[in-house]
């Protein structure tokens, strides 16, 4: 069924984690009859099990639904999902540009969070009509008036007619649907202009190649058209076009304002990054749609199979995952300690966790990950410079003139009583103070420039624990700055273990070294001989701990009934041993390779 432009509403939902975005989406699908209630799985749009389990959205999704409004007219709604994590802010900006409106979901018991704010700013920047939706009004601790006041004062959006809902019970959801009809502007593009379609997500399908989620801004696209990708500069023949309801329905074409999917036998997902503009090869648009950015990984980690026989399996699994994930990068690398593996780039630690879990769960691999590292810019004395993402690649200090590291602009929103704690944390993490913005009587926004390396690990947990969970964080890449950095090596039994090297802030090296060796002492089980664990910078030992030799490990009593029990216990120990990696003569458990991050001030 074709809809005229004025009956189309494209919108997304912006919310902080746990504020109820997915539940509201579920209710909308249910109310519009898109998905029968009995088929509705909680968090329908989160298609991966992992997404459902963790309550986060990783892959974007879009669904087309029809809604018969109170005015008697039937509307086509395109609900475009947005990821809800700081690792994925570029993806958020792409999905926002596919919309004309946004539902801003705020938890009535929590109020506005920094992450929400960051996304609202993105929405406002993209000229979206923002409709405030106050959720969880059924909870006893809901404070609707305070929440409205916050939205008005902090975001500057009027809340006189904010929708009041409980996505859980469905209360107020019909009101939201009416507001979408009434307030979200219909799409504006021109039918007769050359095609410009925005790719806001893509995934790989072994039959059709890369399938793109697109929003047609101008013109139209149909099967049989030859399209041209304006960023990748490549042409393809369109094989399939349709919409998702959420099941795919092949429509053969998509016109102005419509949202759907497109397949064109594209083999490589890297040709179709989010933000790409699709036009017609024969009638190319003059300008691509604005806002494209090539996403580059922020953190790198070495991924190694526990069992070196799994190298090929790991390679295959990474290839498969990267078919679907253009932001995952990997190149082979070799470690003396861990053998053959890959240096993988991720958008952030959540992304890394997700990939690790998928490799282990979906591909049955047993992995060792080295501590994540940022990308350093190393200037050499010969005038050249290079980027390194593996600390053990840092050249000899005599050849290095200076090292720069990536900094981010971080915005931390906190209730005012924790401002001191937040600033203290930022100072400890080598932050450079930028600004303190007063929002209202309750909350303030603290702005710092922070080295990315200081926030990729444990910063967020630390922030939460020092603010009773109230503070939130948003950040974006700022640039490279020179720092006093050095490579810290770890020696086990006298041998340098390359996979345990890290780049540290020199004035903090002694404390880091001490922390790391004592953590390793705790994690590495006692061996048959005493194992010294040392941290060294430029060959000079700065910290040491000794793992004493094991003395006794035997069950005292073993008679008739004890024998079967003991056998089971030994089998468990055997399993545990499989998760150890023999590094030289020392058996090291997998988690040891992350321990160089244990810089926590405890």
């Amino acid at each position: 069924m074709a809809f005229s432009k004025d009956k189309i509403r494209n919108f997304c939902i912006i919310a902080h984690i746990d504020h109820g975005k997915s539940t509201l989406a579920d209710r909308i699908l249910e109310r519009t009859g898109t998905v029968e209630a009995r088929l509705l799985k909680p968090q329908m749009l989160d298609s991966m099990d992992l997404e459902r389990e963790r309550g986060i959205t990783i892959k974007l999704n879009a669904v087309s639904l029809t809604y018969k409004a109170k005015n008697g007219e039937t509307y086509l709604f395109n609900l475009i999902d947005t990821p809800g994590h700081v690792d994925f802010s570029y993806e958020v900006s792409r999905s926002l540009s596919a919309c004309e409106g946004a539902l801003l979901v705020v938890d009535a018991t929590q109020g506005v969070e920094a992450q929400t704010l960051a996304n609202v700013y993105l929405a406002v920047e993209a000229d979206l009509m923002v409709i405030p939706v106050i959720n969880k009004i059924d909870l006893p601790s809901a404070d609707i008036n305070a929440c409205k006041k916050e939205i008005e004062e902090r975001i500057g959006i009027g809340c006189a007619d904010a929708c009041l809902v409980s996505a859980k019970t469905g209360q107020g959801v019909d009101g939201v649907l009416e507001k979408i009809v009434e307030l979200v502007p219909p799409p504006s593009g021109k039918d007769e202009d050359p095609l410009r379609a925005l790719v806001f997500d893509s995934h790989y399908d072994s039959y059709r190649g890369v399938v793109a989620n697109i929003r047609v801004k101008d013109g139209k696209v149909k099967e049989g058209d030859t399209i041209y990708l304006m960023e990748s500069k490549k042409s393809y023949l369109v094989t399939e076009v349709g919409v998702r309801t959420p099941d795919e329905v092949r429509t053969g074409e998509l016109g102005v304002g419509e949202v759907g999917y497109l397949a064109a036998s594209i083999k490589d997902i890297h040709d179709l990054f989010p933000g790409e503009t699709i036009t017609l090869d024969a009638n190319r648009a003059k300008e691509p749609l604005p806002g494209f950015r090539k996403v580059s990984p922020m953190v790198y980690s070495g991924l190694y199979p526990s069992d070196s026989k799994d190298y090929e399996n790991l390679k295959e699994a990474l290839e498969k995952l990267s078919l679907n994930d253009a932001s995952l990068s990997f190149t082979p690398e070799n470690s003396k300690a861990l053998g053959f593996g890959f240096r993988c780039g991720f958008l952030g630690l959540l992304h890394m966790d997700v990939i690790q879990e998928r490799l282990e769960r979906e591909y049955g691999l047993d992995l060792i990950l080295t501590a994540p590292s940022v990308v350093y810019l190393v200037h050499l004395t010969d005038g050249t410079s290079k980027y390194i993402s593996n600390p053990s690649d840092l050249p000899d200090p005599s050849k290095v003139s200076k090292i720069e590291e990536p900094y981010v602009r971080a915005s931390l929103m906190t209730p005012k009583e924790y401002v001191g704690a937040v600033m203290e944390l930022c100072e400890k993490r080598r932050g450079i103070y930028q600004d303190l913005v007063y929002f209202d009587d309750y909350r303030q926004e603290v702005k710092y420039l922070l080295p990315l390396s200081e926030i990729i690990y444990s910063f967020f947990d630390r922030l939460k624990s020092s603010t009773k969970g109230y503070a939130s964080l948003d950040y974006e890449f700022d640039g490279y700055r020179e720092s006093d950095l050095a490579k810290m090596d770890i020696l086990l039994n006298g041998d340098t273990i390359d996979a345990l090297s890290s780049i540290v802030y020199r004035p903090d090296a002694y404390r880091r070294g001490l922390k790391t060796v004592s953590k390793l002492k705790e994690i590495i089980p006692r061996q048959l001989f005493e194992v010294p664990v040392q941290a060294a910078i430029n060959g000079k030992v700065i910290a040491r701990a000794d793992i004493k030799a094991v003395r006794k490990d035997v069950l005292a009593k073993c008679y008739g009934g004890d024998i079967s029990r003991k056998k089971k216990l030994l089998e468990k120990q055997k399993e545990g041993k499989k998760r150890m990696k023999a590094v030289g003569s020392v058996e090291v458990p997998q988690e040891a390779f992350m321990s160089v991050l244990s810089s926590e001030e405890e």
Binding site: R551, K552, D553, V554, A556, G560, G561, S564, E571
Partner: protein, 342 residues
């Protein structure tokens, strides 16, 4: 037979037990061991009915052991045991320290041990074992040394010593007591080992010491991975290559009998694991010939990737006598040896 003693329950229990014993045939058995708690709590009449059933099942020259608490054995009971052919008694001494005995809730004293040993010897039962526990909460090396000294003064042919283990749902566990650390336990054990060796005992199994020729023949069956019948509540047995265990519920045992649960048919790997787990507890280990007869292949071939490392690490020995055994250090680190072989 753990828990509180009630005469009427004991009678009903014995009736079920006798049925169970009968179900395995008449024997004869090379060894009989009445233990797994404190069978010495039975009164004389009950002990007599039990011995009436068991005594005829012992092979001529067989080993017949009774386990008991020191305070529950007097001259009358000792004579009675001897009259029925009981030729070995194992006493749960645990410690001689009044403080540690109180901690364990044991009601005997060092004097009770002395009386029990005298009574048994008077009755002609010289083959005695005394058990002690080390690594008790707050136990010092001096306390252990004193215990060992007293233990040695009895000059019995067999001694067992166990590092304290604390299992869930026991009173020690509920009181929050902890097992000694590996290092503390090792220190106690090393003290025991060297003192007992000096006194002429051989450590023939991880926790068992004996004069040559006085090893427990019954317990050697467990450690040589040989079959045995286990009867009574919670008893474990090993027949036809399969381990089984009886119900642990008294109510169930009394009303439905032992209801033994057999483990699944063991795979070759299971059988190997059992073989090592038991045999390597023994100082003498196992004979390559015995291994080959049992499994139909050579240990040295099948484990050629694994055993040399253990030998190199000083944990295992492959002797010229054709035996594979743990070194002293290997016995201390037996779990490690086993996991490496598994």
């Amino acid at each position: 037979m753990k828990g509180y003693y009630r005469e009427d329950y004991a009678d009903r229990y014995l009736a079920v037990l006798f049925n169970e014993i009968a179900s395995y045939g008449k024997g004869p058995y090379k060894t009989i061991y009445v233990g797994g708690g404190t069978p010495s709590v039975l009164n004389l009449r009950q002990t007599k009915t039990l011995l009436d059933v068991l005594a005829p099942m012992l092979e001529k020259g067989g080993e017949f052991t009774f386990e008991g608490n020191p305070e529950s054995i007097d001259e009358e009971k000792a004579h009675f045991y001897a009259a029925y052919g009981v030729n070995r008694v194992s006493l749960g001494v645990e410690s001689f320290s009044p403080r540690l005995l109180k901690l364990m809730g044991r009601h005997h004293t060092g004097d009770d041990v002395f009386k029990a040993v005298s009574a048994l010897r008077k009755a002609g039962i010289d083959n005695l074992n005394l058990d002690i526990i080390y690594g008790l909460p707050g136990e010092t090396m001096e306390e252990l040394q004193s215990d060992i000294k007293t233990l040695l003064s009895f000059k019995v042919p067999h001694l067992s010593s166990y590092s304290l283990t604390v299992s869930p749902h026991t009173s020690f566990y509920n009181k929050g007591y902890e097992e000694p650390s590996g290092d503390a336990s090792a220190a106690f054990y090393e003290e025991l080992l060297s003192t007992l060796r000096q006194a002429g005992y051989q450590r023939y199994e991880v926790s068992n010491f004996a004069w040559p020729g006085f090893e427990s023949r019954h317990n050697l069956v467990y450690w040589q991975d040989l079959p045995y019948v286990g009867v009574g509540i919670g008893a474990a047995g090993y027949l036809g290559g399969r381990h089984y265990q009886n119900t642990k519920s008294l109510t169930s045992y009394l009303s439905h009998g032992p209801e033994p649960v057999y483990e699944e048919e063991p795979s070759l790997q299971d059988k190997l694991e059992y073989y090592f787990l038991t045999n390597l507890r023994l100082a003498k280990g196992f004979a390559l010939g015995d291994f080959a007869t049992r499994f139909g292949f050579s240990f040295l071939d099948r484990y050629k990737e694994k055993y040399p490392k253990l030998v190199e690490e000083g944990l295992l020995e492959v002797g010229e006598n054709g035996r594979v055994s743990c070194t002293d250090r290997g016995i201390m680190l037996l779990d490690r040896v086993l996991v490496a072989l598994y």
